[in-house]
Symmetry: C2
Subunit: 517 residues, 2 copies
């Protein structure tokens, strides 16, 4: 209880004490049943005569706000009594006793520390570009809409969404639709991953897999290891957990296992997160040797690996290297996959492959989160896969995306100003560029917006600082001619910024709107 | 570093020390770079001569496991050096230097405290009954499949899932499909709720709304208030947060606001969770007066209310009372809704209405969780609603469910043994029964399984203990004749258990399988 007396006022001190305590009671700062300090003690604290406090308490008793009992001291009345007194009291009091106006809730005062750690990994200013027809956006990592196999899906829906087939609209098991898990198990068996439907959890996209793993493994004080730069959805959810993120740099062979070893000899992380094949954002693929080294370290230090693998089916030359999971003989690798990049993201279906004991815990977490993923979309996807349509679809999109990658590389070779360098990925969606002269990517964003072209600035993929003069370009969404035009505009923007270095200070401010992947 | 010397062994002490430290190094208990205790200190600790330790360290240096520097003491070598030494060493050493076998990970050692607080609110033994054709289950709270408007949905899907309309399969905004939020805003405006699309977040079922609110509001040490008994999905997710759950009993007018007032005068919860209309599991509806009292308390104590409202459209007499949200003039009520009970649950679509500041935080949390709910199912549901089909569907199902409720009540009146009592809900799905003679519901479960009938035991809806001789019956899934037969079987089971009270000790064990709602 904190009171501030102002001796310069004409209001007697006892009335100041009375009105301040009154306010504290009516705003519930002093709840019903609260015991006020003994008169003598409060008098000493405030530096007033005891009689002043006695008089103040006396008034509060008369107001019906507190009651005094010899030997028990003074306590705040119940709200009913207070309400009653307020209603029945004299005009003078009533004027003072206007009901406390209801204040709107200051929501942020109610938030958890986890909630306060959630930061927006999204640059809406970029995504706004997407809806703008005359802008060419290389920002969003999404498949091209014109490749979606909608004719086939339409036929499947006519079969599944029909009177009588109400099971496709019911509640279902948390772990996921059995035939879909069966399909995935067979598919991964054929890729050398020894698994079965009991080890596969269907998730609402692989982002949900990351969230469930975070829920099950990470809490404040924990350590987690990830390569850097990395997928911004993973950075966001790991950060929100309050765990310390230890980062390992990448080179052209992927995650630097020598650095990882140094880290593991000092810290005991809950898991190592890696995206070994056609990495987001750099396009890097981890070499075979590194894959073995990484697994060896995981075994040696007894640390699980989370392998995020959305892009491995999108290879533009040789079939991609086997997944870490396929080498894993000691159940150390948790594998995340999704249909979002090879088919389309709108059904929100992915999966997590994990040892059955862990899978049960992840399922339990998912049950709390959303009960289960959509029954209907799982049935549709199962039918799509079982008809062999995924096997037909993949070669088609590989072919398209390869041409788009080639067009982007060719345009970069043709238009790039001096000092701009880039990676040449053998699969996936992304080209990672280093800007010339340590140019700030956020400054380039402004300039590029004028030229009607967009990308993601590199710092979005870093845990702390870093990547400020890198940019990620996604070549999946546009035709080869549009890609060529977009790169032309981008290179013009870079060139102009080289000649106007003072513009480097103008940067766009991130602002929340849509998810960026 | 802990060593245990055994003086009864023939092995010299220095070799015991050597082999124990060796094991600690190879299993990484003593990581690379670890500084071993000075020889003199270790000798004192072990009660041996200093020479014994000197000899042991000397052997370890020779093994390539540690290195000694004058003045710096002895430190564990890098793993590369160790590996190298092991490979190059003599046969004798090599035999000893078998690679440490990789142990499988004990996953539970990696789990967070939140994860350990997740308990399975599901009785799979009951749900197994559902798939069993000749059993009649009153357990699952789900709409009846034969009422699903699948013909209409089929037509809608032919329109939405077609070549060219790839936008329905893209990534979309986290907050949800705008036309769906617009429809919901209009719908709720017509019900007296003053809202707009910026205050509506589309969720993957209302379970996700509960999870997001938990993430944003609840952490260990917090308080949350809920009526008891209550929805088990809410109990589960609140418990997992580590918050203290304060429970308020229900009477026939709903949540006891007098008890709530007592609680609020002592604690400051993050929010009050209530399901005021056709409550799960009791079927109770909060009276108008209580609704006003509850809001008044929320304003007075400045505590948000979470109103969960899945059943209010399923009324079987007068239209249900206005929602708390519709009375709320000071933005204290967060409203959760879902299509799962009035249409079907398999699309996993619900919504959360909240003040825009809070909604932004909830959207940010959802972005971390699953980016957004399925674009495709949102488009389908929007078209369904915009064609006016929800308005056509609701009167049909109200009519069906009313007949089913009447059939269940009539059967109870006809077959109930003495001492069995039940509620008569005016809407929703559930009848709440009190068993005679304090019979244990879990014991009745076994007996009922013999008779091929199932229900949910009451204790599932309690935070701690309670409800042990209550059961929840759901009348939504079966025809009136099946309901009659099911209640006949159930009453037979109760009667038999009355005559065989020793069976009361046999109870079924819960075991994880499927979500229960």
């Amino acid at each position: 209880m904190k009171l501030n007396l102002d001796r310069s006022l004409k209001t007697p001190l006892y009335l100041q004490i009375r009105s301040q305590i009154r306010l504290l009671i009516l705003t519930n700062e002093l709840p019903s049943g609260y015991r006020l300090p003994p008169e003598r003690k409060l008098a000493t604290l405030l530096g007033v005569n005891r009689t002043t406090v006695v008089n103040a308490y006396h008034e509060l008793v008369a107001d019906g706000l507190i009651r005094s009992h010899v030997g028990k001291g003074s306590t705040v009345n119940s709200l009913q009594t207070i309400q009653h007194s307020l209603e029945g009291s004299s005009n003078t009091i009533r004027a003072e006793a206007q009901p406390v106006p209801v204040q709107p809730i200051s929501w942020q005062n109610f938030y958890t520390s986890q909630s306060k750690r959630m930061h927006n990994p999204v640059l809406a200013s970029i995504l706004d570009e997407i809806s703008n027809e005359d802008r060419i956006s290389f920002a969003l990592g999404s498949p091209a809409g014109e490749y979606y196999p909608l004719k086939e899906l339409n036929e499947i829906c006519q079969e599944i969404i029909r009177p009588g087939n109400w099971k496709a609209f019911e509640y279902a098991s948390t772990i996921g639709h059995y035939p879909l898990r069966q399909y995935l198990a067979n598919w991964f068996n054929s890729q050398g991953i020894d698994t079965n439907p009991q080890e596969i959890l269907i998730t609402s996209g692989s982002q949900q897999g990351l969230d469930l793993l975070t829920k099950v493994f990470l809490e404040p004080g924990d350590y987690v290891v990830m390569e850097e730069p990395s997928f911004l959805g993973a950075i966001g959810v790991f950060k929100s957990s309050g765990a310390h993120i230890l980062t390992v740099p990448l080179d052209e062979e992927g995650l630097r296992t020598d650095v990882l070893e140094q880290i593991l000899s000092r810290h005991r992380p809950k898991f190592i997160y890696t995206l070994p094949t056609f990495q987001n954002p750099t396009g890097t693929t981890m070499s075979l040797e590194r894959r073995h080294q990484l697994l060896k370290l995981a075994y040696q230090f007894h640390i699980p690996i989370v392998e995020d693998d959305p892009y491995s089916e999108l290879y533009y030359g040789e079939k991609s290297l086997p997944s870490l999971k396929s080498f894993d003989e000691h159940e150390h690798v948790i594998y995340l996959g999704t249909f979002s990049k090879m088919l389309f993201p709108g059904l929100r279906l992915g999966w997590c492959i994990a040892p059955s004991q862990l899978l049960e815990q992840l399922s339990l977490a998912k049950q709390h989160v959303d009960l289960h993923s959509s029954t209907t979309t799982q049935w549709i996807m199962t039918e799509f896969c079982n008809r062999g349509l995924l096997d037909i679809h993949l070669p088609l999109v590989r072919n398209h995306y390869k041409l788009q990658r080639d067009a982007m590389i060719a345009a970069l070779e043709e238009y790039a100003p001096e000092g701009l360098s880039w990676t040449i990925p053998t699969g996936g969606y992304y080209i990672w560029c280093q800007l010339p002269q340590e140019m700030k990517a956020t400054a380039l964003l402004t300039k590029a917006a004028e030229k009607k072209v967009a990308f993601v600035p590199g710092n979005a993929f870093y845990v702390n600082s870093g990547g400020r003069s890198c940019i990620r370009l996604c070549f999946s969404r546009h035709s080869t001619s549009t890609i060529r035009e977009g790169i032309f505009r981008l290179c013009r923007a870079i060139s102009e910024l080289i000649n106007q270095p003072h513009l480097d200070r103008k940067t766009l401010q991130p602002h929340f709107r849509e998810p960026l992947v």
